[in-house]
Symmetry: C2
């Protein structure tokens, strides 16, 4: 082994894996200049090592044997880009057990198994890094972990899923229904064949759970993130929200409340003039606010071969730079040392407070609004605006109400009575608003 060389092994030669290999090969001069050390991709493992990936891999050993990476004496840093829970979890755990530093882009893995893996990494004195898991190429975790470390974090808002943001942007610009835009997105490769994780908010929830735990020094509680997707949003909702001065985004939201943490993912009305509302197409952005820094925002590509690879290799460089002295002085992976991280409860959804957009489909008859308003009043919910766009004698029409700030429990109780009104048809759509974002 050359002492001035750091050796990297790659698990998975899919889209991101190819991007990482490409940086390590094409930007080798830049990396060497920054590091004053050679960063060498020694080996890559994939089930398919036959397909030509358009890369000059002459100096890289290709293997189908994962042990040639995770147990190899000549690999210092393992990059896991397989994705999903298994076998990624087993491979990462084994690599850590064998004293390898690990870099991953796998948000599902960190959200679900991060706690066990961080504990294992600490025990073995190695680093588990995951910048690419949240916000793709945007170095938002480094900003939160290090750049804002002087602050008590007050809120985190994220547009964290490019597929959803692309669909909502298209629905707005072209007044098309969700299903049609989803099919277009699938045809263009912006959405997966099975888009459930994206459109139902699960991917955003993975990322939000990681951000929240890092922001507030708590354990990751992915299962407790309240998660709603965007499939029930209609072009009418987008247009009505627009008329009222808002844009709808799938937002991940995390805030501390004393010894409880609020974590929720759902379509959210944002003031059209806010920075986050300007984030369009497949771009991602994270807004982080702290008690001293006030509002900050980080914007860029949240996915894709090249941007994601950029974040992966940034982690590799951090580790490589630290390796000569050991990595104990790197910022802790979750921003707080394991011993200082707390186990705080999640605020139940009924206890959150915000303003609401309530869209009902009603028969256009006299007295409907009075009946709805009466129920809301009984639950101490006051209205900021009411809007009914068109009138049809025979069809049901959308009736939109914007509430002042109220407790979710009150709103849910009111809605459960509103749906029983004979003039109210279909299930109401409840969207939450955020003015601070």
């Amino acid at each position: 082994m050359n002492m001035h060389e750091i050796r990297v092994g790659l698990l998975g030669l899919g889209t991101i894996g190819v991007g990482v290999a490409r940086i390590l090969l094409e930007n080798n001069d830049i990396l060497r200049a920054r590091l004053q050390t050679e960063l060498r991709l020694v080996r890559a493992c994939d089930l398919d090592i036959e397909t030509d990936r358009g890369l000059d891999l002459r100096d890289v050993e290709l293997t189908t044997d994962v042990d040639r990476i995770i147990k190899a004496d000549d690999v210092d840093i393992v990059i896991e880009l397989i994705g999903g829970y298994e076998p990624a979890r087993s491979f990462v755990a084994a690599a850590i057990e064998h004293g390898k530093h690990v870099v991953t882009a796998n948000k599902a893995l960190i959200a679900r198994h991060g706690e066990a893996l961080f504990a294992l990494a600490e025990e073995r004195g190695v680093v588990l890094a995951f910048e690419a898991a949240v916000g793709g190429g945007i170095p938002c975790l480094k900003a939160l972990r290090e750049g804002l470390a002087a602050n008590r974090i007050e809120s985190v808002y994220g547009i964290l899923n490019g597929t959803c943001n692309y669909i909502l942007t298209k629905m707005e610009h072209e007044s098309l229904p969700f299903d049609v835009v989803l099919k277009q997105a699938q045809a263009l490769g912006y959405a997966e064949a099975d888009p459930t994780f994206d459109i139902e908010g699960v991917d955003t929830a993975h990322k939000l759970a990681i951000l929240a735990a890092m922001a507030f020094g708590t354990h990751i509680r992915f299962d407790e993130v309240h998660t709603e997707g965007i499939s029930r949003i209609t072009p009418d909702d987008i247009a009505l929200a627009g008329d009222l001065g808002y844009r709808i985004k799938l937002l991940g939201i995390a805030k501390p409340h004393g010894d409880r943490i609020e974590m929720r993912v759902h379509p959210t009305l944002l003031p059209r003039t806010s920075q986050l509302a300007q984030v369009s197409d497949s771009y991602n952005a994270v807004q982080i606010s702290g008690d001293f820094v006030e509002h900050t925002m980080y914007f860029g590509r949240g996915a894709g071969e090249r941007p994601t690879a950029s974040a992966v290799v940034a982690d590799v460089l951090d580790i490589a730079r630290a390796m000569p002295d050991g990595t104990a002085h790197l910022a802790p992976p979750m921003a707080f040392p394991q011993a200082a991280r707390r186990d705080l409860a999640t605020l139940p959804m009924v206890d959150i407070e915000c303003e609401y957009y309530l869209r009902l489909m009603v028969k256009d008859q006299p007295g409907v609004l009075a009946a709805v308003a009466d129920i809301l009043g009984h639950h101490r919910i006051s209205l900021e605006a009411v809007m009914q766009k068109e009138r049809h004698a025979t069809q049901s029409v959308p009736l939109v109400l914007l509430t002042h700030c109220t407790r979710e429990g009150n709103l849910q109780a009111a809605v459960s009575r509103i749906v029983e009104l004979p003039s109210v048809e279909d299930e109401p759509l409840i969207l939450r608003m955020e003015r601070g974002a």
Copy 2:
């Protein structure tokens, strides 16, 4: 000395100094949790140690003797918040000579004397950190230095001066002339009594010189930044640009051209829908693009007691975390190790290429446009749009021309002939456009 304690000395108890002291005192619990070490403000130096700053400084020794900070055995990290070139430079150099790590928010110091100070710090094995010098609270230098380190940087655009951005935003929203808005800004404390450094672009040029050198691995060449301010912009220009789909921002721009670097600060027309054009009031933002990450943007408060202090203390934490093992493994202050930094020439302004907004004040006579267009044609400059807003028989009127992309040298040559036309009055205003931002 307590081994689990890192001792900080503060030079300057002005606005930012008070902010830093406040974080160290008020967020001490958060800092201790993150660091697992006590971070203690042991001493602060200022010419005025009598004024009550609304802080509980009982455990902090106040002194007017700077040597009690920069030469003291019981100080590990010196924070310089005096500002300006001298005596800040001498104090920082002396602190480094005495083996102290130094954190500063002083962009003028780094822009002008950074190279000498970095060399000295490397020689003495200490860190000179300056996150707060660019973008205030926004951790944009860390993003560029570490988060995007896998990239070949392709461009840096920055709205880096809150005073200018506040003035331009106000001029747009209220159609008021520059002088009036400047006076309002001074009354509100958003502009200094002598606002020259801000409004003439010098402050932005300081910051751009630092960003460019960090982005491209070159030496800082502040004196070579082409610098224009905002004092010649009129509400008419802002309105005319708006009609054409643009917003005017004071932008710092840096791009590499082979072995030369383009660096310029001037009012710039940005497409209204771009992310940077949305940055209003006193907010700052930096857009950094790399060959893998594509576009990223960092947004937040670029000045002020609390945001700037947030960045200063983040640097302190980086150093404090590293100290037990020595700080050699921290990312180099200018992103590339001293030995790898190059000395590249600055691209002369005549060689830059962009689109231009050219506003002439002309007598409203037949043939003016033909004469102007003829001169532009002779210099191979083609037009994208022409606009003349109002007509006056007696007064001169603004004539606005948008050019296609052309070489600055050609445009300057054409303008030097245009001003000689008898129907052209006053000095023309030349603004540059950027579509990539």
